[in-house]
Symmetry: C2
Subunit: 268 residues, 2 copies
């Protein structure tokens, strides 16, 4: 038994797609979530800064008692996992490996597409991880910098959304991918729009679901029969986190507390 909470962090609100799956599969666990809304987005930022921010976020969660850290951000998982695993004293789970395993399991023609932020795609983290497990897979990737702002704007089923997704995916679809990894935790928000563009013959891999599965292998359960608590922390204002968050998890995101992270961090 380990009564400590599960810690989850993301650059902002997107990681709540991961929170939602974990909350559903582990109803009796306590969960703390940190969204780094003061420094969002991580996608276009440099590797060094994303590593620095990720370490600060993980340390904050550990100070809050986390027994395991879920990096619910693909950009951070792409570049910061080695540093995190070296510097942090609890197990760390990223979103890349679970997504990769699921993609390899589902693909039949061995042509896998990956979409993500500029940082994730540039790191080639998915490509390397897929070919590490199965050299016969071909990987086609596309950076989609407009999708996070679209999801945050709430244009879930908008004409513009369909046009943008069609444009980003056109090359991948020409390559006849049969599996597409949603390589950013924001993207499940746009899942039905993406499904419309790719059609029924392409499997969508939602890392959120896969991460929750992998967590089952690593977690030492709280061992309590009553419902676990949820606490949310953000590093900047809470309004958008509340509204978009509610649309993701289907209930109020509460309680939310502000925290300042920087060279050092402090609660406000």
């Amino acid at each position: 038994m380990n009564k400590k909470p599960i810690g989850i962090f993301d650059s902002g609100v997107g990681g709540l797609t991961v929170y939602k799956e974990i909350r559903e599969q582990f109803p009796n666990e306590d969960i703390i979530y940190f969204g780094d809304t003061a420094r969002v987005p991580y996608g276009p930022k440099s590797k060094n800064n994303v590593i620095k921010y990720s370490i600060q976020n993980a340390r904050f969660l550990i100070q809050q008692g986390a027994k395991i850290i879920i990096v619910a951000c693909n950009t951070s998982s792409s570049v910061a996992l080695p540093a995190l695993r070296e510097l942090v004293e609890v197990p760390v789970i990223g979103v890349i490996q679970p997504g990769v395993r699921s993609a390899i399991k589902h693909t039949i023609n061995k042509k896998i597409g990956v979409i993500g932020t500029e940082g994730t795609i540039k790191s080639e983290a998915y490509q390397k991880a897929i070919q590490n497990l199965d050299k016969s897979c071909e990987v086609f990737s596309a950076a989609c910098p407009m999708l996070v702002p679209l999801a945050e704007e709430g244009w879930i089923d908008h004409e513009v959304t369909h046009l943008i997704i069609a444009e980003y995916l056109s090359v991948l679809l020409q390559k006849k991918i049969d599996t597409l990894v949603l390589g950013c935790t924001h993207y499940p928000i746009l899942k039905s729009a993406i499904k419309k563009i790719v059609g029924d013959n392409v499997n969508l891999v939602d890392s959120a679901i896969e991460v929750a599965k992998q967590l089952e292998e690593k977690i030492i359960h709280r061992g309590e029969s009553q419902k676990g608590s949820s606490k949310f922390f953000v590093s900047d204002k809470t309004e958008k986190f509340k509204t978009i968050g509610k649309s993701i998890i289907g209930e109020n995101v509460s309680p939310i507390q502000n925290v300042k992270l920087g060279e050092s961090w402090y609660l406000t």
Copy 2:
């Protein structure tokens, strides 16, 4: 005579639209530009954080010798000018007042539209400044969070760009505005797309041009006949700053140096 440089800062690359006008009008002045690419965008961030970042940016420019600070960022100009003027020992020029004066000069039917980031629009800085100068003006504003990512993606003349602009401007056009303030230094990048949507009967106010005009009233010239130098600093990686920057100013953005700003700042 004052041989010190003019200091300009923005959250990122958008302020180069202001740099460009100042460089053209003041060819003999030295200019230093700081783009806070580690913390971009400012638009969705809280007022307190934008004020903190703005003060750090201005202090950095002053340490580099700036004789005057141009806040080439509407979000920062909307919320941080009073704090900057209190804490900073050189004159500070924002982008709001120059845009407002120009809008009032150009409007005939006294219906002025303002577009900007969430932070700028929420602050109502334009509305207050316009009605302070001319109570008979009606102001209609719209937050346009997708325009900065669009400009940064380089989709200057894309079908999606026209659809998004048309959607954001539809209410303002229904209100029969005859003047539209581009209340974000990124927006002049999309000027021709915006012009296509609003047509020839709406004046576009580009703050960059207006700021350069106001600077003439405040500046003590360098008094040298040879060309002034330009130096650029950014707080995160430089690739995008270089490519988008070049498309804005029409020549290479050089030299660029990295600097870390935080609780304290240091050059790298």
